[in-house]
């Protein structure tokens, strides 16, 4: 694996040879870590902002709330992190969920519908019940997807594509085709500020930590990867593949519903057409950027979080630089393709002249010479 020794030359003119080699080796090892490149991109994107907004990294307190560019990015990214985490597990089972955006809309509209029809909109119980209904709607959507994919054996793309399009119809049905505006201080609290921190960050962090604990401290993560690698082999080995897949889709629906609650509570309104629009793109992009293979069998929750942060920062940066927002879609669609190409063994052998199984060359070595 470690081919460092053969290629180093001339880098150690300044320092002593041994320590230079060692530093380089460490750099190489860091660079070969799967989170290295997303992290580099993230830091790079943040640095791009520094000339135009010198106080980009500063975080202050205003009216008892934290504020700053980074906090804004986190608030904006929290729902996408939630969706991304759910999607990561589905993709790990070698599935896909294209309906996350629609589920976001369904859960948000269902919750807002409940609040609007409650006798006392401001009551805490109303908000809690609304949140419960939203989450239940998400779980139901996830179970629906899971039923068709895991039990009936329908291709994940088609089963979830159906909900992606029909789900928007369901959301419009709940909202009667109109944007529901709620006037509830308690519902607004769900996506508002909990003490000095915005709730979205706390909720997303809690979900991420719990998911990592559940998948990596128990055998669940390994079982999911086994199912994603080869569902039939996993089943023969005694893994309840159907149940694992089902769980992944239900969890994904739950995460999307949580994102829907955050979004609608943030704006105190639910728009069946636009809430969660393109979230399936953002989710898949975050997952792919984070190093999870779309073929399944491997997943990295931490990578997905980093991927979502990269997207959030990218959107924020493009906005700050005055790039028209409509070009974002083109850009992000392009990134998906590029990342998939880099991950494709054939592309690497044919175009990049790499033998399969070898990692990408690390461009860090030549630059240290200059």
């Amino acid at each position: 694996m470690n081919t460092v020794g053969t290629e180093t030359s001339g880098t150690d003119t300044a320092t002593s040879g041994a320590s230079g080699n060692e530093a380089l080796a460490r750099l190489r090892r860091a660079a070969s870590h799967r989170l290295f490149w997303p992290a580099v991109i993230l830091v790079g994107l943040m640095l791009v902002n520094l000339p135009s907004t010198p106080d980009y990294f500063s975080i202050g307190v205003r009216h008892g709330h934290l504020y700053g560019s980074l906090i804004n990015i986190l608030i904006f990214t929290a729902p996408q992190i939630l969706v991304g985490v759910g999607l990561t597990l589905v993709i790990a089972t070698s599935g896909i969920d294209l309906s996350v955006g629609a589920v976001v809309a369904i859960a948000g509209t269902a919750a807002c519908w409940w609040v609007v029809h409650a006798s006392d909109q401001n009551a805490a119980t109303t908000a809690l019940a609304a949140a419960g209904i939203g989450l239940a709607a998400g779980l139901a959507c996830g179970a629906w997807n899971g039923f068709f994919v895991a039990r009936m054996g329908v291709q994940p793309i088609v089963a979830t594509l159906t909900l992606m399009v029909a789900g928007r119809g369901v959301a419009q049905l709940i909202g009667n085709g109109q944007i529901i505006t709620v006037n509830s201080s308690s519902y607004a609290l769900i996506g508002g500020w909990w003490g000095p921190l915005p709730s979205g960050i706390l909720i997303a962090a809690a979900v991420v930590v719990l998911t990592i604990l559940l998948t990596r401290r128990t055998a669940l993560g390994m079982l999911i990867e086994a199912v994603g690698g080869n569902a039939e082999a996993a089943r023969l080995a005694g893994v309840r593949a159907t149940r694992i897949k089902m769980t992944a889709y239900i969890f994904c629906g739950f995460c999307a519903a949580a994102a829907g609650l955050l979004l609608t509570s943030n704006t105190s309104s639910a728009d069946a057409n636009n809430s969660g629009l393109w979230y399936e793109l953002y989710g898949i992009l975050a997952v792919v950027l984070g190093g999870t293979s779309l073929a399944g069998g491997r997943f990295h929750i931490g990578g997905t979080v980093l991927g979502a942060l990269v997207i959030g920062t990218l959107n924020n940066t493009l906005f700050a630089l005055g790039v028209p927002s409509q070009s974002n879609l083109v850009f992000e669609g392009g990134v998906v393709i590029v990342v998939c190409l880099l991950g494709s063994p054939k592309f690497r052998t044919k175009v990049l002249n790499l033998r399969p199984g070898r990692r990408l060359p690390v461009p860090a070595a030549p630059t240290t010479e200059a």
């Binding site: 159906t162 399009v165 592309f347």
Partner: protein, 344 residues
């Protein structure tokens, strides 16, 4: 007009239902979904006729309008049939249609290009986009859905880059083409779009069922590895299939422009589902290798009839169309699963 011809063949399933043996044989038949769809169409038509008789549901124009109002869907679904028969999927159909309407509207209305130049250009862009996606899918072995999903986002994004707002087309030639009608006996008429879509359908029937390329598409969808061993040029066929789909999407986009006489970044949002639904309802296996283009026509007619019924009902809102389409698609996918299980 094909539907009444086909519905004569849908009587056997009903009679066979009492006889378990024939029923089992029928479940294994490739044509079963087509029969079911034909029966569904007839049942829906009779239902609509009895309910909205006094609203002129029985006139020939209602049937002719199925072709007029869904010409773009028919063309898009024909393209999707090629892809699905080959065992792939194309999610970029709706975006490609939206992009074509936007580009056409922009070039004709804002830049005053002649329509005769814009139309081939749009078709070429569609075909090139499809070919590019096919190339990436084949050459680098990336799953079709992720490549075409990226295509979906790319073309939708490009729509908004062409122009952010919708553009109304008032160009003389376009308006005249849109108003062009062909009179049929019985006081009915077909629009230019409907006629063109039927021409595309006829061409697709010929290509799929009577040419070497058509056989290769079926072979590819049946089993890619066997096709390769048989000497089918897998790569070329795959790229060609996505090129056909891109071309059909762009063609559908032109028909859509003609139908609606405007370009809008949000035109045909989610139309890929309608196209895929039409193909599946028409009896083509989602796993590829089995199906008929004429079945796709039947699928489009069923979806069109749903829309017609909902508009005749009046009180039902348009989102019911989306829900009904999704439900119908799922029902037919389940039928396919049951059939596949029976055949084994």
């Amino acid at each position: 007009m094909t539907a009444p011809v086909l519905d004569t063949s849908e009587t056997p399933p009903k009679r066979a239902a009492d006889r378990p043996k024939r029923f089992a044989a029928l479940l294994g038949s490739k044509r079963l979904p087509v029969y079911v769809t034909a029966a569904l169409f007839v049942a829906m038509y009779i239902g609509g006729y009895s309910r909205y008789q006094n609203l002129n549901f029985g006139t020939g124009q209602v049937v002719a309008n199925l072709f007029v109002d869904n010409c773009y869907l028919l063309v898009a679904a024909v393209g999707a049939t090629f892809v699905i028969l080959s065992g792939g999927i194309d999610l970029s159909i709706g975006s490609m249609i939206g992009f074509t309407t936007m580009l056409t509207a922009f070039l004709v209305q804002k830049e005053h290009w002649p329509v005769l130049l814009v139309a081939p250009l749009a078709l070429a862009i569609g075909a090139a986009g499809g070919a590019l996606m096919g190339y990436v899918i084949h050459e680098f072995e990336i799953q079709p859905f992720i490549v075409t999903l990226a295509g979906l986002f790319l073309f939708r994004g490009l729509c908004e880059m062409v122009n952010k707002e919708s553009i109304q087309i008032t160009d003389h030639t376009v308006t005249r083409l849109a108003l062009f009608h062909i009179q049929l006996p019985g006081d009915t008429f077909l629009s230019l779009g409907a006629v063109l879509s039927l021409v595309v359908l006829a061409a697709a029937v010929y290509v799929l069922h009577h040419t070497r390329f058509g056989r290769r598409v079926y072979a590819l969808g049946g089993n890619e590895h066997s096709a390769l061993l048989m000497g089918v040029p897998v790569g070329r066929t795959k790229i060609a299939v996505y090129t056909v789909s891109g071309f059909c999407s762009a063609f559908a986009g032109l028909l859509f422009t003609l139908y609606i006489q405007s370009g809008d970044p949000l035109h045909a949002l989610g139309l890929e589902l309608d196209a895929i639904a039409a193909v599946v309802i028409g009896g083509t296996l989602l796993t590829g290798g089995s199906g008929y283009v004429l079945g796709t026509l039947l699928g489009v007619l069923v979806l069109g009839l749903i829309k017609t019924l909902i508009s005749f009902e009046g009180t039902l809102s348009s989102w019911w169309t989306k829900i009904a389409t999704g439900a119908l698609l799922l029902a037919f996918i389940l039928l396919q699963r049951v059939m596949a299980a029976k055949r084994r």
